[in-house]
């Protein structure tokens, strides 16, 4: 039940209401009983139509009563004259309209209306469209009516251009009409298709839509619908699959890891295929996994020999590399590091990005604290050149957190992703020049979450101290760090130890200094780390416990504990 305000009343009013309700319950039950008795007896006549009408006008949500009416009409309509059946359908539509006026969001009423029109000898689609106009004037967001409208339009053969115009009129009346913007997004590709543009929509038509969105921004810059629409025009920010790096290692156990720019699945239709040397290609399907790092320890490399490795996935994803005789590991890095981290507004050309940026900057002059404009500006900057505009982007994120604190979690994550992208790209470029680089410094950045860790699969030494990492999900990415030997999580906000730590089997040294870990049992996770030699837990509440040291030492007998 929605939107029923609780009202206070006197004892007298209360008593009168109680009696009235009691009467209504009796009435409702009696009517229903006789209806269901008739139905059980197989009665399908006009009296029963009358009876169900009475109840439905009181309670139009009862789907079964509408079903019963359909059963009766199915029986009666074929036996009537054309005129008579037209009248019956008309009556039915009248009842429906009365119900809709009271209860415009009843699924079964709209369903029944469709059924009646499908079974009418002469359905009046023009009238139905008028009904939609009327109901959408009354409630411009009623999605039942919008869906019914699309059905009527299809049935009536009304061209999409008329409806495109209608969506414009609705938007012009109220720029906040998300339903109308939505409708536009469905009609635009139908009306202005293009084979040459990247999103299948004609570029001139797109230009007009940018203008429309801009008009909306200038009328009310805090209307979210136009901003969502604008983001859609620019493109979803998705791209095809590409490989970031491939790590191949002989010792201590044969290991191969492939990092992708997004989560992938290795399915039967599109498996990851690995070919080692002259061996046969091996499709590796593991449909359960959906991750950005794919790895395997199942492969056998020929000992002390050079081995070539070929990775394929779908069309156009292909890496060929080799592991030299005598060397233990080899790392392949994509030549397109830029692409790997850049956000990509699929639908927009660089001229569009530039002109939209100009528009946003102008709007920001008038509305310096408008979060929608701040976010769009920074997304445009990221798409244009995230490295070059790094400083401005960070400032914009900081400002967004202040202007729209409810969504700080969202902005902080995006900010972390941007920062890590910038740092990691630079680090990978350095790594390309000096193969002995295996450390990475992400300390003191106020990171709220780890991103792109799949491309850090070769990193042995990682500094994450001085961030705002506080929960299991913020550290989920640790699971990709398959080469990690030393990790600092000092000066974060960890309350508990993430389970993902237990998977870092090469880890030798771990610092958890100055966090908020309270429970000794948490350290149980670390038991699965055979190489762990040094553990720093100084500055955690857990250190105050009298049995802290003996407990941890008993659990992890071979480590040096700093507490």
């Amino acid at each position: 039940m929605h939107g029923r305000l609780k009202v206070r009343s006197t004892a007298e009013q209360e008593e009168a209401r109680r009696r009235e309700k009691e009467k209504k319950v009796l009435w409702y039950r009696e009517k229903n009983e006789s209806i269901f008795a008739k139905r059980a007896a197989g009665e399908k006549d006009r009296d029963t139509l009358k009876l169900t009408e009475e109840v439905l006008l009181e309670n139009s949500d009862v789907g079964t009563l509408w079903s019963y009416r359909r059963e009766i009409l199915t029986e009666l309509l074929p036996t009537c004259s054309q005129e008579d059946s037209e009248t019956m359908c008309k009556t039915e539509l009248n009842i429906l309209e009365r119900c809709l006026r009271v209860n415009p969001k009843a699924y079964c009423v709209w369903l029944h209306r469709r059924w009646v029109l499908e079974h009418s000898p002469a359905p009046q689609w023009a009238h139905e469209k008028q009904l939609c106009d009327l109901f959408l004037n009354h409630d411009e967001r009623n999605f039942h009516c919008w869906d019914y409208r699309r059905y009527v339009i299809r049935k009536a053969g009304i061209p999409p251009s008329d409806e495109f115009k209608y969506s414009f009129d609705k938007i012009a009346t109220n720029f906040s009409n998300h339903s109308a913007w939505h409708y536009r997004s469905k009609l635009l590709p139908l009306l202005h298709p293009s084979h040459s543009s990247s999103n299948g929509i004609d570029e001139n038509a797109m230009k007009k839509e940018y203008e429309l969105a801009q008009n909306a921004f200038y009328t009310d810059p805090s209307d979210q619908s136009a901003w969502f629409y604008h983001k859609w025009l620019l493109g979803r920010g998705t791209r095809g699959t590409m490989i970031g790096c491939v790590l191949v290692r002989r010792d201590p156990a044969p290991f191969i890891a492939v990092s992708f720019n997004q989560n992938v699945k290795s399915t039967e239709e599109e498996p990851i295929i690995v070919t080692l040397g002259d061996a046969l290609p091996k499709p590796v399907t593991d449909s359960g996994r959906f991750e950005s790092l794919w790895w395997s320890c199942d492969l056998v490399f020929p000992k002390d020999e050079e081995v070539t490795v070929r990775i394929e996935k779908g069309d156009g994803v292909l890496v060929e590399m080799s592991l030299d005789k005598g060397s233990n590991s080899s790392l392949w890095l994509t030549p397109d590091l830029d692409l790997l981290f850049s956000t990509y507004l699929t639908a927009a050309t660089s001229e569009v990005l530039d002109s939209e940026l100009v528009m946003c900057r102008e709007l920001l002059q008038l509305e310096p604290d408008n979060k929608w404009c701040l976010l769009t500006t920074l997304q445009l900057l990221e798409a244009i050149d995230y490295d070059k505009h790094h400083k401005e982007i960070i400032d914009l994120y900081d400002k967004l957190v202040k202007c729209d604190p409810l969504r700080r979690g969202y902005y902080n994550d995006l900010r972390s992703r941007h920062l890590i992208a910038v740092k990691l790209r630079r680090r990978l470029e350095e790594r390309r020049e000096s193969p002995d680089i295996n450390s990475f410094d992400l300390s003191q950045l106020n990171l709220s979450r780890l991103y792109f860790t799949q491309h850090m699969v070769f990193i042995e030494d990682l500094l994450l101290n001085g961030n705002k990492l506080n929960s299991t999900h913020s550290l989920e990415g640790l699971k990709n760090l398959k080469s990690l030997q030393s990790l600092s999580l000092a000066d974060n906000q960890l309350i508990t130890l993430p389970k993902t730590l237990g998977g870092l089997t090469n880890l030798k040294s771990l610092s958890l200094e100055n966090n908020d870990i309270k429970e000794l049992e948490d350290f149980d996770t670390l038991r699965s780390l055979p190489e762990l030699k040094e553990l720093n837990i100084r500055g955690n509440p857990v250190c105050q416990l009298s049995d802290c040291e003996p407990f941890v030492k008993k659990m992890l007998p071979n480590i040096k504990l700093i507490h």
């Binding site: 039940m1 929605h2 939107g3 029923r4 305000l5 609780k6 309700k21 009691e22 209504k24 319950v25 409702y28 039950r29 269901f36 309670n59 949500d61 009862v62 789907g63 079964t64 079903s67 359909r70 699924y107 369903l111 059924w115 967001r141 999605f143 919008w146 699309r150 109220n174 720029f175 906040s176 998300h178 939505h182 409708y183 997004s185 469905k186 009328t219 009310d220 805090s222 209307d223 979210q224 619908s225 969502f228 629409y229 983001k231 859609w232 979803r236 989560n263 699945k265 959906f290 604190p405 409810l406 969504r407 700080r408 979690g409 969202y410 994550d413 929960s471 999900h473 989920e476 990415g477």
Partner: protein, 334 residues
């Protein structure tokens, strides 16, 4: 200028800052006993779902034993339609996917699935799948992504997902995706948080969350939070407690629950308690009902309230009940 933000103000009532567990339990208990109440009568057409809301709410606050198990199971079983294999919402009414899921949820909650002929239900559900992968709710042919969820969740709970075409189910759901990353009732329909939950839940059951653009959808979902702390179901709509569930569960499935302000949402949900009668309403000051009581409690559970049992994101049953079944589904972590 455009329209002002639609929202509500939270009443300044310290007595609502506490979770009124005992009041909620007694509200639900009385609701189910008070069969002559007008609201109870007028909502007969969804009775089996109503029972599911009540039972799950009670189990989440550890009060399930206050409900009459024998009577309830008898009633639910009397709603089983032997001809089709579906469940009716109430005796005399027609069987439908919506109530079939609710009935199965009740049977699972009471660990009583052995009472039913699973194969009959599986056959009812699988016959409702259409060539395009969608599901109709019953023989009248209404298509809705809610029904996709009901079908897939029912089959998953019964361990019989193999009975339908999963690939086509996924294709149909994908065809309902919109410009804002959300999902609607049918292809072409506007995004709505309730439908988003149904589609995201379905994809999680099918282990096909790869279909979703999680950042885009997560953004749209976290924008449902209003200054009052409450969540709405679509842009420019009023906040409503039931969306605490639809939005939060969707965000959790895609690993982005921290994109909203949990504390503020908690305050909003708490303010929808009725400290006289018990129960939760859609918005502060409105009439309470079992539907919003369940989703208020389930929302608080997702927000980490320790007084309430953990709730399963996909099936909206207590997590310990789902763990008993060892179901397989997908959650996004990155």
């Amino acid at each position: 200028m455009g329209t002002p933000v639609k929202d509500v103000e939270l009443p300044d009532r310290p007595e609502l800052q506490e979770l009124l567990l005992e009041k909620h339990a007694s509200y639900i208990e009385t609701f189910e006993k008070n069969k002559d109440d007008l609201d109870y009568c007028m909502t007969e057409f969804l009775r089996v779902s109503g029972i599911y809301w009540c039972l799950t709410a009670m189990d989440l606050i550890g009060q399930l034993d206050r409900m009459n198990k024998t009577e309830i199971l008898d009633y639910v079983m009397s709603c089983f339609d032997k001809d089709t294999g579906g469940f009716r919402p109430a005796v005399n009414h027609d069987p439908h996917l919506l109530y079939t899921l609710s009935a199965v949820q009740i049977l699972i909650l009471y660990d009583s699935v052995s009472l039913i002929d699973k194969d009959r239900i599986v056959s009812f559900v699988s016959k409702l799948q259409q060539p395009d992968g969608s599901f109709v709710g019953d023989r009248w042919g209404e298509v809705d992504t809610r029904f996709s969820f009901c079908a897939l969740a029912t089959l998953s709970l019964l361990g019989r997902l193999d009975a339908v075409d999963i690939e086509k189910s996924v294709q149909f759901i994908s065809s309902c995706m919109n410009f804002d990353g959300g999902f609607g009732v049918i292809p072409g329909s506007e995004s709505h948080a309730g439908q988003v939950y149904c589609c995201v839940g379905s994809l999680a059951i099918c282990k096909r969350l790869d279909v979703i653009n999680a950042d885009q959808l997560g953004w749209w979902l976290c924008e449902r939070q209003l200054p009052s702390g409450g969540l709405n179901g679509r842009p420019e709509k009023l906040p409503d407690v039931c969306y605490s569930w639809w939005v939060l569960a969707s965000l959790s499935i895609i690993g982005r629950i921290h994109w909203i302000d949990k504390e503020r949402l908690t305050q909003f949900i708490m303010a929808t308690q009725d400290d006289e009668t018990g129960g939760f309403s859609d918005r502060p000051g409105d009439m309470v009902d079992p539907f919003h009581t369940l989703f208020g409690l389930a929302g608080l559970s997702l927000l980490g309230n320790r007084q309430i049992k953990g709730v399963n994101l996909i099936f909206c049953l207590p997590q310990n009940v789902i763990e008993r079944l060892e179901l397989d589904y997908e959650l996004l972590k990155e």
